[in-house]
Amino acid sequence: MDYEGRLGNVAVLGAAGKMGSGIVLLVSQEMADLSLKPENRSKTFVLHAVDISHQALSGLMSYLREQVRKGAEKKIVALRAAYADRSDLVDNSEIIDAYVDRALDIVRPTTLIEAAAEAGAVFEAAPESLDLKLKLLAKCGGKGPKGPWVFTNTSSIPICEIDEKAGLGGRVMGFHFYNPPAVQKLVELIRAKTTLAEVAAFAEALAKSLRKTVVPSHDIAGFIGNGHFMRDMLFGMAEAERLSKEMPFTHAVYCVNKSSQDFLVRPMGIFQLVDYVGLEVCQCILKVMDPRLPGQGLKSALLERFLGQGVKGGQNHDGSQKDGFLRYEKGRIAGVWEPEAKRYVPLSELQVDCDKKLGPLPEPGLAWKSAVKHPAKDKALAEFFCKLAGMKTLGAELALRHGSRSKEVALALVSDGVAARAEDVNKVLLTGFFHAYGPVNDYFQVKVAK
């Protein structure tokens, strides 16, 4: 079965979830585009969107209708060419409507996972639990190398384990989209030792056709993205706990978050990022990584405690941020969780104090937003961090420690064989995390290897 044949019948597991819905969108558009080719006009393309809840699947269909339309509006020039032989479709609006109908006709929402058994390719986007993934894959049919090819969106579980325990005979590959899949350019491709060559070739062809930026990662728990993020997160938490010996815990969280955003020129502070990803997801990832990479301290009592208190983060269906370490009002930070009193301390009660403790930013300032589009970005960043290194403020000290740790983590990912090259780690942070600079840089010094 060739690329197009394989995409003739596809299943997405966890289709109504955040990652799943993005994958359904991308793949159904790819399938609709293929179906428009003259030689494919008589073929039927089917995408089984499998999830456990009818309600969520109905939400998925509304999301698709809106997003496929937006996509069609953007590619109207190509669509007019594709529909050139349809004399009944004249206006842009008629052509866009026809395309939206076609793409949505491909998608079959269902709660019956058995539908996946007939698929040529299965995209698995279930929650990050090996047991659950294995349970689902067992229902997808096929034994050994015969059966649907599986592309798992896991962000941490080694692919070889999935292959072995699910008995897939090498027809599996890690295809890790970043959140949200339709917007994020980055895809981490993880080929297990056992992955069949044709499966890997298909994954690469699909990523290319979806115009994704591909970074290959070796099959080690956490891969590159979470390999860096989890350690970066744990460092931030340890910093906050260290600081909390000299100041209230909420102040410490605020200071570390702010220094890791404004002083490190990142798009968001480390605690805001944890909230964005969701505390439960972070905890799941740590639970995958820790036993597979023992002795590295990849666990967090703080996360455990916060989750026990019902502090979860993550996002609402409309994409708005749920409260986590921080409380949000219209997307802006408005408070910090105080685990003793179990309440959010309003920002107004601590911001002035903390900002004074952190000290000023180097002059001239360099906000992340202007850094990413700065015509002489490297020079501007070098000047900013050079000035920062000369400052004896808490903000500067925290940022320098964090920048060094981030670099150390990145270098370790290369030396431990997770990433083939430092550039790959940088590409993941630049593309997947929208950083203005890669962690392997000349701005920060690595003092002691841990």
Partner: protein, 414 residues
Amino acid sequence: MIKLRRKVYMAAGYNTVSMGTGRKEFHPKKPRPGLEDYIKEAGKGTLDRLGGAKNVDEGVIGNFMAARFNNQGNLAALIPSIDEGLRWKPCTRVEGACCSGALALAAGIRSVLAETAEVVLAVGVEVQNTVKAVYGADILATAGWRKERKTGHAHFFPGKFSDRAGACYAKYGRDKTRRAMARWYRNAIENARLCATAQEHGNTQKELEAQAMTEPDPRTFVEHLSVYDCSKVSDGASAIGILSEEGLKRCGIPKTDAVEVVGLGQVEADLTLPPEDPARLETTARAAAAALESAGIKASDLGTVETHDCFTIAGVLATEAIGLAPPGQGPDFVLAGETSRSGKVPFNTTGGLVGWGHPTGATGVHQAVTLWEQLTGKAGPAQIKLSPERPYGLSVNMGGDDKTVVAIVFRRGA
């Protein structure tokens, strides 16, 4: 030739803001004023300057496609919504695509010439930001021949003028033509900065010509034009009074506060026929020649021009069509700075369609308001200095791909 058998004036012009991308207050997802709000604002502005609705005999409104942009027809009946005093007076709506505004002026001029009115209120309006550009393109495409739509570009009119630009590149050289188009863009934005109602009034880009040299991307847009070569998608209205001498007296407007219409040219081409030479605006040339002949002047007597630069290439080609630049030398004329506000014949002194904006049905009226302001010294920061030897202003309003064209020659009243 149209011989004006009676003196006709215009005065009391009013422009709303041209609203759309580029304006700070524009937000595509927030509620905005509607069609009737724009008609009312512009209409009231002009009525105030005419001394009230009681002085007006007749109303005429130019609009292209409110039926689709706003699901609204019968626009003549919105004229009385401007002021109670206009109820029960004769009103007409005219349509000629993007030339609807100047058709409204021509209709008003005819009423005054026919002595059926001494004072006509002329309004032009379009509210286009109700739909996304990709669907707006369908609506605007109705200014072309329906039977060409299927084979036309997704962005139908940019496609048409891209073909014209391509023809010019082939005939006169791509680089020079593109540089002239970029200069046209720069002039447009620099002029728009001087006019508070212009859509690009707040544009602060420093390297305008470099920006306008952005290479066209046919995968997402058309082959020979970039977005900088295009006029804006705009909401806006303009209004002006069209008066006889008696009308001026009735409204208490001195002749020096008015412009006299000294020449009118109105030309229609066949919608179903392609242009004979895409590198030439033949209908525009015929309309401009008719207007100049009607006024009894030559192109060299013109002190300023408001031309229909729906695309930068249309502006460049208009310099030839009007007869200011020899055939094929429009790009040289523009590159020599002759159309800039300090040049020989300043064009589009408040930004034109590229800089001020292009609320399609309002554009023709907006051009008349701008010329009225310039010729009577009311243009504020955008005021140009006219040489007494060349006291004439020309407006050229075009509908479709050079199909419906109205050209008017103005001079300050005396």
